[in-house]
Symmetry: C2
Subunit: 168 residues, 2 copies
Amino acid sequence: MPTHYKGCQEAERALSAYINLIRASDSLVSKASTQLEQSGMTLGQFAVLEALHHLGPMCQHTLAKKLLRSGGNITLVVDNLEKRGWVRRERQKDDRRMIQIHLTPKGARLIAKVFPEHAAAITQIMKELTEQEQEELRRIAGKLGHGAENFCLERFKKEQHHDSDPTK
Amino acid sequence: MPTHYKGCQEAERALSAYINLIRASDSLVSKASTQLEQSGMTLGQFAVLEALHHLGPMCQHTLAKKLLRSGGNITLVVDNLEKRGWVRRERQKDDRRMIQIHLTPKGARLIAKVFPEHAAAITQIMKELTEQEQEELRRIAGKLGHGAENFCLERFKKEQHHDSDPTK
DNA sequence: CTTGAATCATTCAAACTCAAACGATTGGAT
DNA sequence: ATCCAATCGTTTGAGTTTGAATGATTCAAG
């Protein structure tokens, strides 16, 4: 019996989980991106629109933290969203360093239509797992991505359970 | 009670799992990349070296399929690995369309040193989960990334348990 | 043998991402 | 009031990835 048998088992278990996790994520991101392309938007653009939709206007720095992206990245995504007329920049009066990003009516209509579609697509894909497996996946993956707050879900629940009023 | 309550619950469960999965994956990839940077290589470069290390020489097309990357991407990664003297291209005689990628002795020494380090780092990160959680994660994520074969793990196990002979 | 489809690698343009450098603005310390 | 550090958004350069176009090679059908 090799002296390092236990370490072996441990590494096997960890690496198996690691690889399967990343492959599953890649697979899902790929499917989600394809689905969103039909609506003419990027996954990154969707993420920004969704954050604004569920959390209201916010500055780019906050967006970057929420979405775990670099500031430069947010600048680019917001640029593209602005070109399409889905968001607008609004310099804050009290602190002119910040720029609040607002959904335009056009952008609000779009995300209000696309989000349920996207949610339905994800829900459909997740049907490959049982309810218990989904719960377990949520719990276990949550432990690994610890810093991550489920910001969008919090609001999503409220919105669905007792229709939140859209008047900011 | 809203009529769509059940669909709601379903979507909540699916989206929670989806988001946590992607965040966990991002977090792990980020940590893994940082760890590999110390060895002076990219995650993509590591993946290619690791595949060659555990599966032996293969052509770029096979690499692309194994690693779920585009052909153009593999060309670039192999270019960079070749510049560093870690792999060499060898045109096949029987089918001159294919180019087999071989580890150079230098590359073989490198991956033989780096892989255990990287495996140890992943193992360490995964300690945030219990053994049972790792098993569950492997199983559940495996269902989602279904097309994905655990090619490297298969060989990794053999190698560790009864030192496979390196003579191709 | 010749033609045409299929396979494989390369190249190129486009998009996305990050990190670092930069300029503008703010707020606190002196 | 002035200076200095911190914060915020933008720009730039480098790296990664994809998909489409291209060229080389193989194989099978006629």
